[in-house]
């Protein structure tokens, strides 16, 4: 070639260029520690968007060389920690950088508000209860409320339905499903006969039983809120048959890509069961019920879910009571009831831009009771609509702000023979609340709730505050305070009136230890009741009361292999002056000491799980019509349950057998008196012992791992 030297220079330049790619290595070294000064071995240290990097050794030290040049970002990552990044200048000169990693927030290291709440959830890792624990509790017969009664704070009440929590009566506890209040969560009943809850526990993925101090999102329940969250989209298409000693049911769940729907029907009739199991009530017509539900779920987007639920049921029963006012003891009062109930609920949850969560929920329900009391007719109708919207915003890493509003419109229509009355209420409430994480170990929840009632024509403002402090990864303290207002029983609210909201102020302090084997929790509380409804000598809200006590809960899942047990103890001291009480008295629904043990054991070979529940409560106070006080004897109840897992023609099957009050304790809940106080009768259980047998068959593709 002509330009030989130029050629040579050019080639040299190219070669040098190639060499440029090889030389100028920079050595990067350093050390990785956490905020407590402990070394982090196995951390990943690398230059962002390149291949270059290494892992830290057993001393937390790292060292690697890179051919990258100029301004780069050095990144460090390790599980459980936030990623750390630093800018580095790579010029061939050795670089030394030490990193201190910040722990990521997790259930183990972050405190949560726990005062006054028992949560059963499948989604959290460390919970006191799982939804399955509630279903499999002996003595509960699969009824949510039966199982809740074995938790501290709930009294063992057998003569009527409802949750009586920490000295409050049944009206002070509300059931909430997907944010809406359930006006009639129990089947309708007649006096001295408790009824079950309408909804199967299998419908719910999360249960939060609050014994006080609950969030500003909820109101109108002075003692407790049972907050239930329904299941999300069903995973598989499956059908079910249930055959029980009291009736039967069919179900079918269907799953499409982003939709699931389920339809359920059941029929219950206790006549055959009563004919073999002796009953302590005089049934003219044993209880029977028929009903069906429809559930629909639709995924709206990756994070949005629409849920719809509708349930209709009919139930009737008729009982004959002794007329205590009849001195011959021959006269009987005939009591018959026919109930129609419809409940529906639609809810929508969506996450917007990863920061906002919108939750909207609405429900419509109608309940009609037709009651015949000898020749008197009582017609009682409740129509209830409820709408709610809550917006939640994440601020920073952990802090959450919630606000929203709700509208409840109950319409009550009652007629006693020709006397009728109606109550048309419009209840509006707005709420705002923030969970402020001062540190990962110290959180404060502050909230306010503003309520208005059309019937009372009054407002109230309820402050709510809680504080929780995590002493170590398994131990924490929690405190809660709040005002809880409630409308007095609508029957007594005339227009115009001089009544106000009933009020309970809660002060709660608790300590809990929670690890994956054992749970211990001790909680002390004081409830100050003001403006309770009084109807004697006139109707006013000048009543008052208090309730104080200590609840203890201990659960152990590990000590006994294949065994799981929990023990709860409640001490309750309470008095109130309300309704027709002449002065401040101990109410009839409070035992001073309540103790329960729930034990479950799994026999792996025959695949049988057995459970027992023992409940003890000291006698409850009862009154003569002149309000002279006496106490019932102590209450004892031991129940067993057995579940066997098997298959019928390859279909997954569960066989359940349970016995209530196995030892046949003759419990007395309270007494009924004649009007002159001369005659009284015991009110005990509706039967000395109860029996229940059932077979549940699941038909679909082969199932794995279900209990």
């Amino acid at each position: 070639m002509k330009s030989d030297p130029l050629h040579k220079i050019f080639l040299t330049l190219i070669l040098m260029g190639e060499l440029c790619f090889v030389n100028a290595q920079t050595k990067i070294s350093g050390n990785v520690k956490d905020a407590k000064g402990q070394i982090v071995p196995g951390a990943n240290i690398f230059l962002k968007d390149t291949y270059d990097g290494t892992s830290s050794d057993n001393n937390g030290n790292f060292s690697f060389t890179t051919a990258e040049k100029g301004e780069q970002i050095l990144s460090v990552s390790f599980i459980g920690f936030e990623n750390a990044e630093r800018k580095v200048e790579l010029k061939g000169v050795p670089v030394e950088i030490n990193f201190v990693l910040k722990e990521k927030a997790s259930e183990l290291n972050t405190v949560t508000i726990s005062a006054g709440a028992f949560e059963a959830s499948d989604e959290k890792k460390m919970v006191m209860l799982r939804p399955l624990d509630i279903v499999t509790t002996a003595g509960a017969a699969g009824d949510i409320y039966g199982a809740i009664q074995t938790l501290p704070g709930a009294q063992a009440i057998g003569e009527t339905q409802g949750l009586f929590v920490r000295g409050g009566d049944a009206s002070e506890s509300k059931t909430i499903i997907d944010g809406v209040v359930v006006a009639n969560p129990y089947y309708s009943s007649v006096p001295d006969v408790p009824q079950r809850g309408r909804f199967s526990p299998f419908l719910f993925k999360g249960t939060n039983f609050s014994t006080g101090g609950y969030s500003a999102q909820y109101g109108q329940a002075m003692s407790s809120a049972l907050i239930l969250e329904s299941q999300d989209i069903t995973q598989k298409t499956v059908s079910g048959i249930s055959l029980m000693s009291v009736g039967g049911g069919l179900s079918h769940d269907h799953r499409w890509k982003n939709t699931s729907a389920g339809i359920y029907g059941n029929y219950i009739n206790l006549r055959p069961y009563f004919s073999v199991a002796p009953q302590l009530r005089d049934w003219s017509s044993p209880p029977q019920s028929a009903g069906g539900s429809f559930i629909f779920r639709q995924k709206i987007s990756k994070t949005g879910l629409l849920k719809f639920f509708a349930n209709y049921s009919y139930n009737d029963l008729a009982l004959s009571y002794a007329n205590l006012d009849d001195s011959t003891g021959l006269d009987r009062t005939e009591f018959s009831l026919k109930n129609n109930n419809f409940f529906s609920n639609v809810s929508y949850k969506e996450i917007i831009k990863n920061k906002w969560t919108v939750f909207a929920s609405a429900s419509y329900s109608k309940n009609i009771d037709n009651i015949y009391l000898d020749h008197d007719k009582i017609h009682s109708e409740t129509e209830f609509t409820h709408e709610r919207i809550t917006l939640t915003r994440n601020l920073g890493e952990l802090t959450i702000v919630r606000f929203g509003g709700e509208l409840q419109q109950p319409l009550y229509k009652n007629a006693f023979n020709q006397y009728a009355y109606e109550r048309d209420e419009l209840y509006e409430a707005g709420y705002a609340e923030a969970d402020i994480y001062i540190t990962k170990k110290l959180v404060s929840r502050l909230g306010t709730r503003l309520e208005h009632s059309k019937l009372l024509d009054k407002y109230n403002i309820a402050p709510r505050a809680s504080l929780a402090y995590k002493v170590s990864s398994n131990n924490q303290f929690s405190f809660a305070y709040g005002d809880f207002f409630q409308l007095p029983e609508e029957r007594y609210i005339n227009t115009p009136n001089n009544l106000g909201f009933e009020k309970a102020t809660h002060y709660i302090l608790n300590f809990q230890h929670l690890d994956d084997k054992r749970t211990f929790r001790i909680e002390g509380y004081y409830k100050d009741y003001k403006h309770l409804l009084k109807i004697i000598p006139d109707t006013n809200t000048n009543g008052a009361g208090f309730a104080e006590g200590i609840d203890i809960f201990w659960r152990d899942k590990k000590t006994i292999k294949y065994g799981d047990y929990w023990i709860s103890y409640s001490f309750l001291d309470t008095k109130r002056n309300y309704m027709d009480y002449p002065e401040s008295l101990i109410p009839t629904f409070a035992s001073k000491h309540t103790f329960s043990v729930v034990f479950k054991y799994f026999f792996p070979k025959p695949s049988i799980s057995a459970g027992l529940t023992y409940v003890f409560a000291t006698g409850r106070t009862y009154y003569t019509p002149q309000f002279d006080a006496d106490k019932t004897k102590n209450y004892n109840n031991l129940s067993f349950t057995f579940n066997k897992l098997t298959s019928i023609r390859k279909h997954f099957t569960v066989i359940v057998a349970s016995v209530g009050n196995v030892l046949g304790f003759k419990n007395v809940y309270t007494y009924n008196y004649s009007s002159d106080g001369k005659r009284k009768e015991e009110v005990g259980a509706t039967a000395l012992r109860s029996f229940f047998v059932a077979v549940f068959i699941s038909i679909g593709e082969e199932r794995n791992d279900e209990e």
């Binding site: 050019f10 951390a43 690398f46 968007d49 390149t50 599980i79 499948d122 098997t646 298959s647 794995n704």
Partner: protein, 213 residues
Amino acid sequence: MKKLFIAAIMLITSNVFAQENKKFIKSMETNIQLLDSAQTIEQFQNAANAFERISNAEKKEWLPVYYNAYANLMIGMNQTENAKKDEYYDKAEALINQADGIAKDNSEIFAMHSWIVAMKISIDPMNRGMQLGMQSGMLSETAMKLDAENPRPYLLKGLNTMYTPEQFGGGKEKALPILEQAVEKFAKFKPLSSIMPKWGEAKAKSALEECKN
């Protein structure tokens, strides 16, 4: 002169380009070997970190994310505390979801995901079995539908069935035909490249032997 100039540019650029693709393959091959021979948590962590670095450099590739998930799953299986196991299984699941975001409807990704969910169940089978059991089954079925020749979903379904109690529809008898299918498919399987997943044959054979007893 001009020709030389162009040739030089082409040499340099093609060199650089070939370097990058070769770099990816070489890096993957080295670290897949590291993963295959790993026994201790430290060794699995080194492999996981290497795959995290590769996936960080090559954001469009699903394979480094997939192997990172596999390594984290192995670390989880070697942990003794349930809380720690959960932590690593959750990390593996987050990674496999990331891989799914890069490569949709991928049989290997669905198979790996069903394995991760099966391991999560094993921490608390009584409570997690219901929901997660169904999810794991659906994932391995989807993996089979997406690629009928992929032996890994059959291996995982077979292992799952083996460890499920008979009352729930599991047991060695039920698992036997599934594992036989897995071993057959492994014998015929040819990975599309040197870095595509090929693990599991030894495990399938040993599980089949166990079921025959």
